[in-house]
């Protein structure tokens, strides 16, 4: 991924898209805004996930762990600390997810590829089964409810009570809260992947041995990447709970990990914005399809197989290639 030409062109898209995102609540019905909020939340998770896959070459099948830990952290803050401030939720979610990522990462990053994938899957399943077994703590399958939080420590007036107000809250104030955090996440991740650290990660992805022989301690860097990835995904989980109102063990299950893999690949894991696009598109796809068929997993599976065989660059990747070809530049 060369920064120069492609990034400048990507950035040209950014301004109109941003404008669109900002004025959205005023032009569409609240349901659509809330739906997009979910998309933005998953996009943040996708950014975190792809730091590992696209930039470090590590395919995790257990990222639901960090999303779920972020979500449950929020639920625990509500249940046990009786705090309902979004700021605390955000920090708590990030802290908890990063802590778990630190431990899991320590175990997982000494391996690559297959073993890495297996380990991440197994560890996330352990968390899932714990969420079940310790139902007196986690609420078991009923889950834990989370009410609408105070934004910015109560500085923003919020609505409690009838669902109409709640929807208004979600589609206006909460949407902008999520949007701002989304923009911050995109900016931070963009910096990270274009930093010397980011280059070191890509070097590790391309050639682990050479990276070691250039003085980059592979294990170390992978671990740090894992932490950052966990933090972003945990933040997404923390943002998700107030939207959903509830967190259940499902969010820790490998199925959700699979969805994260799917939407990242769908958008194109070899590009920066691919996973973001993939997450948002996926969110719409799922909302649409779930109403039509029970065999949602099969649909995902088929699309994934087709993507791998035919369109490995994903949506954004393929668009990029077409754009390059239209310009007459040979695709590198």
């Amino acid at each position: 991924m060369s920064v120069g030409a492609l990034s400048r062109r990507s950035l040209a898209w950014v301004v109109p898209v941003l404008l669109l995102l900002v004025i959205l609540p005023f032009v569409v019905e609240p349901y659509q805004t809330v739906l997009l909020s979910y998309g933005l939340v998953f996009a943040i998770a996708a950014l975190g996930f792809n730091l590992l896959l696209g930039y470090t070459g590590l395919l995790s099948f257990g990222h639901s762990a960090y999303f779920g830990v972020g979500a449950y952290a929020v639920a625990f803050i509500v249940k046990y600390l009786k705090i309902e401030s979004m700021v605390v939720f955000v920090f708590g979610g990030i802290a908890a997810a990063t802590a778990v990522a630190a431990v899991f990462g320590f175990l997982c990053v000494r391996y690559t590829r297959i073993f890495f994938g297996i380990l991440t899957l197994a560890l996330s399943q352990v968390l899932w089964s714990l969420a079940f077994k310790f139902f007196w703590v986690t609420g078991g399958t009923d889950g834990l409810r989370v009410p609408t939080p105070k934004l910015l420590g109560g500085a923003v007036r919020m609505a409690v009570g009838p669902s109409a107000d709640k929807q208004d809250f979600l589609s206006r104030r909460y949407y902008y809260y999520v949007l701002v955090l989304f923009i911050i996440c995109v900016a931070v991740m963009w910096l990270i992947v274009h930093s010397p650290f980011g280059k070191a990660l890509q070097a590790i992805r391309d050639n682990e041995t050479r990276a070691e022989f250039v003085g980059v301690q592979v294990w170390h860097y992978r671990w740090v990447a894992f932490l950052i990835s966990g933090a972003f995904t945990g933040l997404a989980g923390a943002l998700w709970v107030p939207l959903n109102g509830l967190t259940t063990p499902d969010i820790l299950h490998w199925q959700f990990s699979g969805e994260m893999v799917f939407f990242t690949v769908l958008g194109g894991f070899q590009t920066f914005f691919g996973p973001v696009v993939g997450a948002i598109v996926f969110n719409y796809l799922k909302t649409f399809a779930v109403g039509y068929t029970v065999y949602w997993q099969m649909l995902l599976g088929v699309v994934l197989v087709v993507l791998v065989l035919v369109l490995p660059a994903g949506i954004v990747g393929t668009v990029n290639r077409l754009a390059l070809r239209l310009r007459g530049t040979p695709a590198t």
Binding site: I192, P196, G198, R205, D206, R210, F213, T332
Partner: protein
Amino acid sequence: MSILETRQLTKYFGDTHAVDHVDFAVAQGEVLALIGSNGAGKTTLVNLISGLIPVDSGTVLFEGNDITRASIHRKIELGIARSFQLVNLFDQLTTLDNVALAVFSRDGKTRRLLTVSDADTAVRDEAMSVLQQFGLDARARMMAGGLSQGERKLLDVAVAYALKPKLLFLDEPTSGVSTREKAPIMDIITSVVRSGRITAVIIEHDMDVVFTYCPRIVAMHQGAILADGTPDQIRTNEQVTANLLGAQAGP
């Protein structure tokens, strides 16, 4: 004092001595060739010293320090670098980025998370100057995966060179490259090595290259050192001609 010294360095693969109690020393600033038929132990010796594989017994001393069990990272910090026989590059990074990464790493800047790498002009300029020395500056913005074989071999060396090492191991820098390209590549390498006052150990099969560019030659056979001397001494050494050059003899 020798910059590098090995004492009774040994490595077994199963029952075979890939490297058999080798005593070997290199003086600072030397440019020497390591020759031998396939399986003689040259690459294994370099792999042991550079840290790619662990030592079974014996010691490796670098500038007097025992680095036998030191980590790869530590060895690089101390000033040892190497290139690879089968080109090892970061194919999805640009030529410039390949070298820049080495510079960033050397300067300890790879820890920086929140600064844009392209914005670091000092590193970029230094990387460009390395590319110029290797004649690769025209390819700076090209993906390393898209370079020609000769260019890739040069880049492989350039990346190691960018670490500003004191001791540089070059593993068959001209293998897989057409005969006409060999001399230009070796010219660049030797000029860069001399001007940087780098000690270089070059594994090579092409005896023309060896005799032309290397004032000292160490010949290995079945894991041990067979002979060690100047090109003339090696050329006239009977054991060497029997075991190695015989196979290379041509019209």
